[in-house]
Amino acid sequence: MTPLSRRGFAAAALATLLAGCGGPPDRPAATAAQESTKDGATASTGTGAAPRPLARSVPVRLLIPAIDVDTPLLRLGLAADRSVQVPPVTAHDQAGWYRHSPTPGQVGPSVILGHVTVGSYGDGVFRHLARLRRGETVVTRLENGARAEFAVTRVRTVAKAEFPADEVYGDVDRPELRLITCGGPHTGDGYRDNVIVYAALSDTAR
């Protein structure tokens, strides 16, 4: 080999090496793209796994294992002042379902109310509602034997004066549940706040 060809060969080898180094970064990019599509697929599968809404059937029982609630459900309507009726104040306090709201498992916000305290009788059925945390389970049993299971998505304590009616009673595009009681400090008239638990349908059984 002449010095010229040697240098040329060396330069060619170097150039090939350098050009070859440019290749690999493209592949991780491709795998990154695949991963992102995978994520998208799993995300959409997650929404796809959402249970189908149930047919209308009145709820008869409510169970919240995290706070030891197991109560029959009354049917509540509107009071004379057009506020929502609340369960009667009795020793054996029960929760109640607002009968103008969807039944649990139907599309829309199904509303269930219970007392936090029942005067001289002591604790109400929703005494520890504010302790619920996101992801915890709320189960409703329906008159037709079906079971709608909800997962808590949010727990809010809001002043009664600023009760978020649109957020609580407004339309939604999936089966949801609202559990409402009183909370916060109590003044002479009663409690200052409302505790509102928002939950979304997570499972059903017929």
Partner: protein, 122 residues
């Protein structure tokens, strides 16, 4: 000089040729995987799920469910035991205050009578 020119040319040509090799590799070997994945992912797998779920729910939502009669105001779901206690405490306070007033009034009355009696005796 020639050597330099030749070696530069050789370097350039090799670099160009070598540079085209990964381009081919990108064009042929790896491309089917991402393109398939890309076409499969939005086309076949996820699309049926989002189109089914929201459409079914969105169409059902206004038809059934949703709150027919919206209540006014905030629910009153707490009958406070302390409120009755505070009521009785208030009663106690009021009662004791009234007792103090009655006692004070009585004392004033007695003192006045004694003074009046004292002036008449004198």
């Amino acid at each position: 000089m020639r050597r330099i020119v030749l070696s530069v040319m050789a370097l350039t040509c090799t670099a160009v040729l070598a540079g085209t090799a990964p381009a081919f590799a990108d064009g042929t070997a790896p491309s089917p995987v991402p393109t398939r994945a890309a076409t499969i992912a939005p086309g076949d797998e996820p699309s049926p799920v989002p189109t089914r779920v929201p459409s079914a729910e969105a169409t059902r939502a206004p038809a059934e469910g949703q709150i027919a009669v919206r209540p006014e105001g905030a629910p009153d779901t707490g009958v406070t035991a302390p409120s009755t206690e505070s009521g009785s405490q208030g009663g106690l306070l009021g009662g004791s205050a009234a007792a103090v007033l009655v006692a004070a009034g009585g004392a004033v009355f007695v003192v006045r009578r004694r003074r009046a009696a004292g002036t008449t005796e004198a």
